[in-house]
Amino acid sequence: MKRQVRMLFLVMVLLVSTAVLFAQGGKATGPSAADAAANLEASLKVDTSVLKAADGQPLLKLSADVPKIPTRPANPEALPDTNPLRWFDMEYAGWDAQKTNIPASPKSGAIGKRITFIVHGDHPWTTACSLGAQKVADAYGIQLKVLSPNWDLAVQNQMIDQAINERPDMLLLIPLDATTAVQQARRVNQAGIPLILFNTLPTAEAMNYAITWTGPDDFGQMRKLARVFADELRARNPGAKELGIAYVQHAPGGSPYFARSYGPVSELAGYAPEVVTLDMQAPGFEADRTMQLVSDWLTRFGPRLKGIFAADDSAQALGIAEALKKAGRADVVVVAAGNSKIGMDMVTDGSLFAITYQTAEGDGALAVQTAADWFNGKELPNRRNLPQHIITKKDVADFYPPQW
């Protein structure tokens, strides 16, 4: 009898403690803002403009370009790929966002805030991006939790749910995909957690549920690169009536795929109509597959192929250079998107003509800085773009050592 009572008591204790634990799980346990005003005052004094990226460039630099947003055509998708307005919904996504249920800034300062930082996958670029984010977080004393789903949508969704479970003060997210970002942003928005999207430009609808978006203006950057590319093609082929080029594309689906293919296509249609697209292929990010593709192009198009526009300045660029070297085609102009060590070394040795300045550290840093600005009660635009710059042999030395 005594034993039974003891057992019953034990079971009851177990049940009660389980219930207490279970109930506590759902509650927020964030750090208390003991003195919001003092925090805000101290937070506003933090100077992040002195921070530097690994390449010696300022870590935080906003684009000085004033966005000129054209009027949206009635049906952009009906326009040809060569018309820049065909890409209106991607290029200008978010500038006119109809914000829904966006929480107001607490104006309580950024110091001590908890931010969950969900990236897209494991990559040297991501490491540099997270490093930049951490530098700004350290300056503000922000607790930054970095999570990587390794390009798995199900895992990223799970991480978002985990973040909702943990109730951070802010969620910073690189959506894996422009279109799936809508449901992800909506979910975070419904949970009442402030959200800033960064790096990958989502669809306009996703922007409605986020405070803002920060990152590179990939379309703008590619348009700039396309002009530099066309100038060099003309310089190397004076008087040519046709300048045949091919595109090594990004992985299909994401915004870089469109920006780095159709950004230049639509730009060159107006700026250099003599530039003709011979082919576009997405071989992935393996040097050997890219080399095979370019070798096939060289056989197929022969001297008609005057230039190659690549979506990636590392593995893809290596494959292109190898194929051109084997074929003895030093005359082909190659440009690529990106700012990796491989790309910069290739610009230095002349196998790449130009690459884009895409600060990985700055990308992460800008997202965290924007979060801090929101905690500090600053007005934020619907988009915050990183600066644009094209790196050539003339100034590549200024960007050493590379960020990744």
């Binding site: 109930a23 390794n150 985990q162 479970n165």
Partner: protein, 344 residues
């Protein structure tokens, strides 16, 4: 005198038989006690929602593996069906697009099964081929883009599938549980289901026993592709979107979990319930790594470690079994004890 070693071996046998349940309990208790914010209804709901897709995929995959085959096309079938369901939704609604997408899954399974049993191609080769064809077909259908839907109706369905109807149980999870119970019952309590084990254990014996081995094999592939399609469709309906690589990572995850769950790659052994419990265990482990603030690499490392341990253990068990094949283990033990008593 002889009881103690007997008890020990019995205990080990029981431990081996229920190892996945033990692993599940150990992980659950450990995470509940130590992982911050693990033991609460929101997190447990998230875990259940997350495992839904892979658990659905694992049901059919386990059946194929019990038959002694492999279906490497499940991930791509999930993506293919999800894309069909979403693309057609725009014109005919989910009412028709979902059955068409499931039918596409059935067709994939039928083709896989027929190629294996009639053309006698190894299932590994067949399903790699199907996987590649489906990838190409998906890219062609979508032009390389992800597919997404928006609008209040679509979001209402998405919200319905993801919000709990009962505590911790959203409809998608309830559906998955129903599928699991149905499959478990089918595989363990019906003649056709038990035929999968007979076939995987020894094809010739199964044939001599009067089992239509070709039909059983084809049915296993159809079940696998159908469940892959269902898993992909439900995931896409909840996300209102389908990416072109959404099923890519599921394959390795499901294969690992099925092996960890005790389904032998040689066939004839295992269970769908055990595969699902293995997926749940791995998911809890992954969630724990996130909650502890550990990186994705730790998660991959741990799951690799568990898989390596299980494979090594299986190899050791198989070696031990082969050594005693045709011998009575209890007699061997008595001989060993007698040897030990003989003074040197």
């Amino acid at each position: 005198m002889h009881n103690k070693p007997m008890d020990k071996s019995k205990l080990l046998a029981i431990g081996d038989r229920f190892r996945i349940y033990i692993l599940f309990l150990v992980i659950f208790i450990f995470m509940s006690l130590f992982a911050p914010r693990f033991f609460n209804s929101y997190n447990l709901t998230t875990i259940l929602r997350t495992v839904s897709m892979n658990a659905t995929l694992a049901l059919g995959f386990s059946v194929v593996m019990i038959c002694g085959h492999l279906d490497l096309s499940i991930g791509r079938t999930a993506t293919f069906a999800a894309v069909i369901a979403l693309l057609l939704q725009k014109s005919v609604g989910y009412g028709l697009s979902v059955p068409i997408a499931i039918a596409a899954g059935v067709l994939v399974g039928l083709v896989n099964g027929l190629l294996v049993v009639k053309v006698k191609i190894n299932s590994f080769i067949v399903t790699i081929g199907t996987m590649t064809i489906l990838q190409g077909a998906t890219y062609t259908m979508t032009g390389g883009n992800s597919v997404s839907l928006s609008g209040s109706n679509v979001f209402a369905i998405s919200d319905f599938l993801s919000r709990p109807l009962l505590p911790m149980l959203p409809p998608r999870v309830i559906l998955t549980i129903l599928f699991v119970l149905l499959f478990h019952f089918f595989v363990t309590h019906t003649q056709w289901g038990r035929n999968f084990y007979l076939l995987g254990g020894n094809k010739m014996t199964a044939w001599l026993a009067g089992i239509h081995t070709d039909a059983v094999t084809v049915s296993a592939f159809i079940l696998s592709s159908t469940m892959a399609a269902v898993g992909g469709i439900l995931f896409a309906m909840e996300s209102s979107a389908a990416t072109l690589n959404m099923g890519e990572n599921s394959l390795m995850y499901v294969v690992s979990a099925t092996i960890i769950g005790g389904t032998a790659m040689s066939g004839g052994k295992g269970g769908v319930l055990k595969s699902v419990i293995a997926i749940l265990s791995l998911e809890m482990l992954y969630t724990g790594t996130i909650l502890f603030g550990l990186g994705n690499e730790v998660k991959i490392f741990i799951s690799g470690l568990i898989l390596a341990f299980v494979v090594l253990y299986e190899a050791y068990a198989s070696y031990k079994h082969e050594r005693t094949l045709g011998q009575r283990s209890e007699l061997l033990k008595e001989v060993a004890m007698l040897k030990a008593r003989v003074p040197k």
